[in-house]
Point group: none
Chain length 210, copies 4
DNA sequence: AATGAATGAGCTTTCATTCAT
DNA sequence: CATGAATGAAAGCTCATTCAT
């Protein structure tokens, strides 16, 4: 039945990857609680039994998602932090950051992590370390360098990094998290970042007599 | 059973309050979805039917929690916004805000709202309207007044209010939300607010020709 | 509170009548099973306890409806059976019959009686005796008279009466009973009766050589 | 438990049939509303979950009953409509029809459908389409053919079919529906059909110049 | 390794009925 | 007599998980 027409039987690891991908879609569409193993199995085209052959519970299946996916975004953001005038670099970085923050995929995972934070803080820690923490560290490093060459002036670069990211995020993120507004449009992102960069430069820009 | 020991029959309102209190404990311990009406009824010492005599659904029972608790916090914050020098007023307001934001009770409720945001945005909307939206409006009003009398100078008071609250909240809130750190201690709150107020005054303080 | 403004306290019988009227409305709107004592009490403006003071169960409340209401329609139909040419009399009677048969009130009560027929055939018997049986007897009496004076010719007047009513009722009644079509419009009633009368006259009309 | 005594594992279809049979018994004993899925599951010796694996709701389980039983009856009736002299064919068909109409099984199902007509007209529609509608259509087709070859003469075959079925059904059906009389005995059926056929032939038989 | 039928505890919600006041 | 809070059984349905094949 399979041998003749199928080009190749999938290896166990490939099957596992497929399951993860399908499960991710369902988790993101419906949320952790609402997503059912039946739904995942059905969309997979397999049986529930198979699911349980690869992951011994729904929780473990979700945990695998987080461990696998969270690092990717921080990677992208850190890469942005390169040479260039502060205004330009911060704008690029901020826009990159907001695009990530306001994506459906990110918010869905974040919602689930928040929901489960009480029961499984380890999951939340994994997320925080590979995601937000790395992003903030990358920005801090850039600010240190800029300060060293006189492009910016601030007493505490870590604090400044935190402030910048807070200004970028803005109030809208709360509404987005609560599913009260759709993702920001590119123009809205640009405006919000422009306001954050402007404030930041006012605070820490060079040459301004303070 | 009734004549000898019962001190007094509880009024309907008292009973309602008791139910709210018990339900709040269960919701906070287990989360909205995991908390069951059976559990709440059992802990109440009554029947499920009774619960439904007071609240016509689980959702309404939770919504009552949100209205009661978040409304109170926004009230407190709004009250702070009175006369006084901006630095002093903003400090008081900011500290009040952080005390609310970093309390166990608030974060528990917020976690539930975020977790359920996809299924019940109406609940989230109620929360947002009675809580954050009113808080931000109160601050905006204060800033308008301060601007009018020359105590502060900013082109957009709503934006400034948003920025101030973002600076107050800070990065630590993300960690708190994810259950990675305990509530801020009073000293930490004071420091964080001092930094936010300082930045805000730098941005929008009087006399700076902008 | 009551003595000063209320013109008169209702007697127990008046209260009972009011309850019956309100209950009837609810039963007819929602059906026996779907109608709840709570709904009836609420619409009554009283409490459920009061309801149970007058009728000791839901079933008894419904039974009282049937006993009170079923006779009325048959009364009306029987009255129609007066003097006149068969064609005219049968047309009047048939239209009267269909108007009753295709009314919302009648069909609702009938549905409930059918539904409960297995559990309470006594109720059904009450209905049948005071309703359909009397109607058919009235028609039979008329046919006997018409036959006696040579206006109609049939071997078995009871059978003829039954056939006439069956022809009047038609297939549409099944659909109406099943809630598949709305009540017949006056024009439809007239057409259906005209067809029934025409067939009946063909069968049993005078002078036609058979 | 499995190896020694189990004769054979039931196939999915067999299990489905068993469920339908058990459910039918419960529905007929208690009526649609009163019958509970728990009762059906218990009598089946299985769990409620199993029931829901085969039928995704109580309504669907009942609908399957309707489709299976009423469709079969209409099939039988339609088959009767073959060649032969009208009198003979109509007699056979009418007797077949009454046997179905006056069976305990049919009346039970019909009572349920009527009772639930307000809440679920879809169910009633299914019943009407697979049962009465097909039956009437079959008869109409036969009448058309008979008219074409001059064996019968009527202006409107659909109307004639309706009239014939109405005459067959008779008044007794109302009493049977209301559980006031037992099913007709074969002799009663034959008499009732003979009267209906006789009237029908008088109305639409050949040679009568109309 | 894959299947998919079976499970059974659990969920939210409804309702006729009772009873102390 | 009226009230309305309280009850508790029962309903339809879901779902993570197991296990024989």
């Amino acid at each position: 039945m399979t041998a003749s027409s199928a080009p190749r039987a999938p290896t166990r690891d490939e099957r596992r990857e497929t399951i993860l991908k399908v499960a991710r879609e369902v988790f993101f569409e419906q949320g952790y609680t609402a997503a059912s193993m039946s739904t995942i199995a059905a969309r997979l085209g397999g049986s529930k039994g198979t699911l349980y052959n690869y992951f011994k519970s729904k929780e473990e299946l979700f945990e695998a998602q987080v461990r696998e996916r969270c690092g990717a975004a921080a990677d992208r953001i850190t890469e942005v932090t390169a040479e260039g005038e502060p205004e330009e670099v911060l704008t690029r970085l901020g826009e990159q950051y907001l695009e990530h923050l306001y994506s459906e995929e990110t918010v869905q995972m974040f919602r689930i992590l928040v929901a489960e934070a009480q029961r499984s803080p380890e999951l939340a820690r994994v997320f925080y370390e590979v995601g937000p923490a790395r992003g903030q560290q990358g920005l801090t490093d850039y600010l240190e360098a800029a300060k060293a060459r006189g492009a910016l002036a601030m007493p505490d670069c870590a604090l400044a990094a935190e402030q910048f990211l807070s200004l970028c995020k803005g109030r809208a993120h709360l509404q987005f998290l609560l599913n009260l507004i759709p993702p920001l449009k590119p123009a809205e992102i640009r405006l919000q970042i422009a306001q954050a960069v402007s404030a930041f430069i006012t605070l820490y820009g060079p040459k301004r007599a303070r």
